[in-house]
Symmetry: C2
């Protein structure tokens, strides 16, 4: 089973990487670009798991313990296949 964890900066938290990307895109002539937020996407293969619920639960536990810093980041977990 494969799961995907998105880790993104929380609303209201400064995102310097996103600002740099927005600036870079504006320099390249992409005038329509407004706010940009940059986060991480973590794709994990989980072996020996039978149910979608179990995979989601493991994904949330991994995000809380290692992948995300919940003080400044939000995360979502989804099952890919």
């Amino acid at each position: 089973m494969r799961i995907r964890v998105h880790v993104t900066p929380r609303k209201g938290v400064l995102d310097p990487q996103g600002q740099a990307v927005a600036h870079g895109l504006a320099q390249l002539g992409f005038d329509s670009v407004g706010e940009v937020r940059v986060g991480k996407v973590v794709d994990l293969v989980l072996d020996d798991l039978s149910s979608v619920e179990e995979a989601l639960e493991q994904g949330r536990a991994m995000a809380q313990k290692l992948l995300a810093n919940e003080v400044v980041e939000d995360f979502t977990v989804e099952v890919l296949d």
Copy 2:
């Protein structure tokens, strides 16, 4: 309109960050974790765009020019809302 661009390491390309995450999760007792790949997710607000097609096209152009390094990274673009 908001779009999301995923930038992930190409299949076959070494992903040291993913390996480090896999190792860290194993250390924490997550025994079911197999391969881990870490990429970026970029959420962008695009103003003054009317159609989904136009937004996707802009997203792909931005990925090719700035967000992704196509030698070692793949990207996908989706419209969020």
